[in-house]
């Protein structure tokens, strides 16, 4: 149902996923660099500023009006991480002109907007200062409001404890304390570094005429030579003792967060870790959901997630304040069941089946298709395919991997003692 071509425009890899399933065309620019504290906060601020004002459209209102005229094209940015890397993504999504009853070359114009956007920071000057200060204020507010989300703030606190002297603790969204110190000059330097030194890939999904699209994409950016950044996960660090931390707040429900490290050494072991997570706490049919929530009523929310590349697993629970210890013991007992092989093969097959279904469903979304293809690009050429790796995951491998998963950190955010339960 779709056809993928790998091209190069101006020494930049450009992947086109041609499909007529969608009513839109999506272009994404992925800038990849190593995740470092010195970089991550600047890049968050910079990328937000870039999608708001460009060379030709010097105010947000002007740019938005222009995009609205082109049938509400959306220019957005987000940040994420993979392995040791930080990725800044710019997305341009617009309606395919075949649904429009007027003669408008939308892809061409949107590629011009992307070009303008990438160049704008070279011209940041004193006049940009008011805009810059405002964006700093907004960014700080966004980071502060994350602290009001108890699940997010307790997750962050767990990560801070677990990775106390590792770069991994700098989540992709940046560090609140670093925002004030950033200068406009810092941003210009970071931008120059990003344009010249990052691993950049252009991804497109939609129904397009390929050669015309490549002409349009060639407008976006130019490089004199190809630039690649190697892609690696963090090395495994053995757990010597379990770290514990806690805080109190005036809240109704306690949050229990646990962090684990896994020793993974092959493509299959990473996949088995992923399957283990789905069986343990990643789905509504997982052991944690069925036993800790449904059977024991120990938590309303309980789930686990993994960073498959780096071998980290995190359990997040919303637990009654009285039940924190019981829930922690229960969670560890559920994990122990996998170590002892106390699970049905049928359940493992069911989870693998669900993973296949979910992967197919992702392909029904433009950004999902792009994400899968981008991951594919980052893989070493000799890596077996996703399906082959999944097939190789069997009972023995699940048992082996679950025995290589070690509890590293427990973090609890709970109710202050003086706050007796006042009911709701």
């Amino acid at each position: 149902m779709y056809n993928i071509t790998k091209n190069e425009v101006n020494h930049i890899p450009a992947v086109i996923i041609n499909t007529d399933k969608f009513k839109t065309i999506t272009i994404q620019l992925h800038f990849r660099s190593r995740l470092e504290r010195a970089r991550v906060t600047k890049r968050n601020l910079l990328s937000r500023m870039m999608v708001k004002r460009t060379m030709r459209h010097q105010s947000e209102a002007e740019l938005l009006n222009h995009l609205a005229h082109y049938y509400g094209a959306h220019l957005t940015t987000n940040v994420g991480r993979k392995g040791q890397d930080h990725i800044v993504t710019f997305s341009m999504e617009f309606v395919n002109d075949k649904f429009i009853r007027e003669d408008l070359d939308i892809p061409h114009e949107m590629c011009r907007v992307l070009k303008d956007m990438l160049r704008a920071p070279f011209n940041y000057d004193e006049e940009t200062r008011v805009f810059f200060e405002r964006e700093k204020r907004l960014y700080k507010n966004r980071l502060k409001s994350m602290k009001d989300n108890r699940a997010q703030s307790s997750f962050q606190a767990m990560v801070d404890t677990m990775f106390v002297d590792e770069d991994y603790k700098y989540l992709s969204h940046g560090v609140l304390e670093d925002v004030d110190g950033i200068t406009l000059q810092d941003l210009k330097e970071e931008h120059a570094e990003m344009m010249a030194g990052d691993d950049l890939v252009i991804m497109t999904a939609g129904s397009v005429e390929e050669s015309a699209m490549l002409d349009n994409l060639s407008l976006i950016h130019e490089r004199e030579q190809a630039k690649e950044v190697d892609h690696q996960p963090y090395a495994y660090r053995a757990v010597t003792e379990v770290k514990r931390a806690s805080d109190t707040q005036k809240i109704e429900q306690a949050k229990l967060n646990m962090g684990f490290r896994a020793e993974l050494d092959s493509p299959e072991s990473h996949m088995a870790f992923n399957v283990l997570n789905q069986m343990f706490g990643g789905t509504a049919s997982s052991y944690l959901f069925r036993n800790i929530r449904e059977k024991e009523s120990l938590a309303y929310q309980i789930s686990s997630q993994v960073d498959m590349r780096n071998g980290y697993m995190f359990v997040m629970g919303g637990v009654d304040a009285e039940n924190v210890e019981k829930a922690e013991a229960g969670i560890l007992e559920e994990l122990d069941r996998f170590r002892k092989g106390d699970f049905e093969d049928a359940f493992m097959d069911e989870i693998k089946g669900m993973m296949r279904v979910n992967r197919k469903e992702v392909m029904d979304k433009p950004k999902g298709l792009i994400a899968l293809e981008y991951n594919h690009l980052l893989k070493k050429p000799d890596t077996p395919s996703w399906e082959v790796k999944l097939e190789r995951v069997d009972r023995e491998l699940i048992i082996e991997i679950s025995n290589r998963v070690h509890l590293d950190t427990v973090y609890v955010l709970t109710r202050r003692d003086e706050d007796a339960d006042t009911g709701v």
Binding site: T19, K21, K23, T24, S59, A61, L64, N65, A68, H69, Y70, Y71, G72, A73, H74, E93, F94, V95, F99, R134, R137, L138, N141, K144, S145, K147, D148, R150, Q249, K250, I251, E252, Q253, T283, A284, S285, R290, R293, E294, S297, A299, Y300, Q301, G318, D320, E350, I351, G353, M354, R356, V357, N358, K360, E361, M363, D364, K365, P366, G423, V424
Partner: protein, 427 residues
């Protein structure tokens, strides 16, 4: 089976009504692996006082949501796990006026559809399972109580409404859910989960005729012939607001404010409500959106940040507009918003030029949304239950004028119907 084609947007809808009253809509999405089904009852958190075939019933708050949770549990276990065994992701949600059960899958669609129908149609409640659910839902209520945005929202609704159950948390309260018995659940199920009160939407790459015939056979086998008359009884709601101003304290980083404008639901006709809904969407965007000079004035004065948002809600029995932001100066923000509303309403602000650019933008967003089977199924259901057709939206949008926007803006944003709720850190 009826077929309706929408050529401008390249979409098609097949529809059918079963003899027991169940309505089915099939929306083809050629080339998609994903198939999406929703089975929805017109029964939500507001329906706790009703009359069926002449007899009146009052049930505890939060029962529609409670029932939704309990429908997944059967004598031989949790149906959730069965969906997963058959390669489907299942879920459900309850709103003010409906409860939807849904699943998506890329394989064994019919098996999962049968599972969905049987799960929703065959209740299983015991005293023990009901008692256990109270604990689970109580934790859910507590979790929401710790969410500042949710607290602010419900406090604002409570300032606007005296009686209307929209002001009550969809999940109810610990007090109300503790009163729920299995008899209440059976009564609500037999009343509101009657096929004539339900609609099914299926989105994906299907053989529509075979699918309708399969559902028809299943529905025939239920042997339901009596179609009950259901009347929803709502308490009389005064036109005015309940409480103008309120300050709430929580463990939060920054002060947040929510401002609400209550509109007495005076529109009986569904198409009039749709026009007001769309006109308000355009009007609010013109005045407060990111293309408006007012937005930047508020931003530069430090009165709002990018958490600033606004929405107009238009339902059969109520309508209101909400604006909210994190702010250091809630009083100053409320004052300036009131001034802006009065300035913009005076005329000259709502122009054809602004509106036409917004229409292009909305049309683009609408077409993008049609990439998503979930969006189509959920919105098609919502629009259908409200008496409109999702796929006719572009035509209705086309007809909205700057005068519509201005007229409704002035009417809805009435300073006498304004409430203000401030949520600030513990002092």
């Amino acid at each position: 089976m009826q077929t309706r084609e929408y050529r401008g947007i390249d979409e098609k809808v097949y529809s059918h009504t079963c003899s027991n009253g169940l309505e089915i809509f099939i929306i083809p999405k050629p080339g998609y692996s994903k198939k999406f089904a929703t089975y929805t009852t017109k029964y939500g958190s507001m329906d706790d006082y009703f009359r069926v075939d002449g007899s009146e019933f009052v049930v505890p708050d939060g029962i529609a949501h409670f029932l939704e949770h309990k429908m997944f549990e059967k004598e031989d276990g949790d149906v959730f796990n069965l969906f997963s065994k058959h390669g489907a992701n299942a879920n459900a949600f309850t709103s003010y006026d409906r409860t939807s059960y849904l699943f998506s899958t890329t394989e064994d669609f019919i098996k999962n559809l049968d599972l969905l129908m049987n799960m929703v149609e065959q209740p299983y409640f015991t005293d023990e399972t009901v008692a256990r659910e109270v604990g689970i839902i109580n934790e859910e209520i507590k979790m929401y109580q710790d969410n500042p945005g949710y607290r602010l929202y419900f406090e604002t609704l409570n300032q606007m409404y005296h009686e209307l159950p929209v002001k009550t948390d969809i999940a109810g309260t610990l007090g109300s859910i503790s009163e729920i018995t299995k008899e209440h659940l059976f009564k609500c199920h037999s009343t509101f989960y009657h096929p004539s009160n339900m609609v099914m939407i299926l989105v994906g790459d299907f053989d529509a005729e075979a699918l309708i015939s399969h559902i028809d056979t299943h529905q025939e086998s239920r042997g339901i012939t009596h179609i009950p008359s259901i009347e929803r009884l709502l308490p009389a709601e005064p036109a005015g607001i309940a409480l103008k101003h309120k300050v709430l304290e929580m463990d939060v980083q920054d002060t947040k404010v929510m401002i609400g404008f209550k509109q007495q639901q005076n529109l009986v006709d569904a198409s009039d409500r749709l026009v007001r809904d769309l006109s308000m969407m355009f009007a609010l965007d013109m005045v407060f959106g990111e293309q408006s000079p007012y937005y930047y004035e508020l931003m530069d004065a430090g009165l709002i940040d990018d958490s600033f948002s606004f929405s107009h809600i238009e339902e059969t029995s109520f309508a209101h507009t909400l604006l909210t932001s994190t702010t250091e100066e809630p009083a100053k923000l409320a004052e300036r918003l009131s001034e802006i509303i009065s300035e913009a309403g005076k005329g000259g602000f709502f122009t054809e030029e602004k509106l036409s650019n917004q229409k292009r933008e909305i049309l683009g967003d609408y077409l993008s949304s049609l990439n998503s089977p979930e969006y189509i199924a959920n919105q098609f259901t919502k629009y259908h239950l409200d008496g409109y057709d999702l796929y006719r939206l572009p035509e209705i949008i086309e007809d909205i004028t700057p005068d519509d926007a201005r007229k409704h803006f002035i009417d809805v944003m009435d300073p006498d119907k304004m409430v203000e709720c401030i949520l600030k850190p513990h002092g």
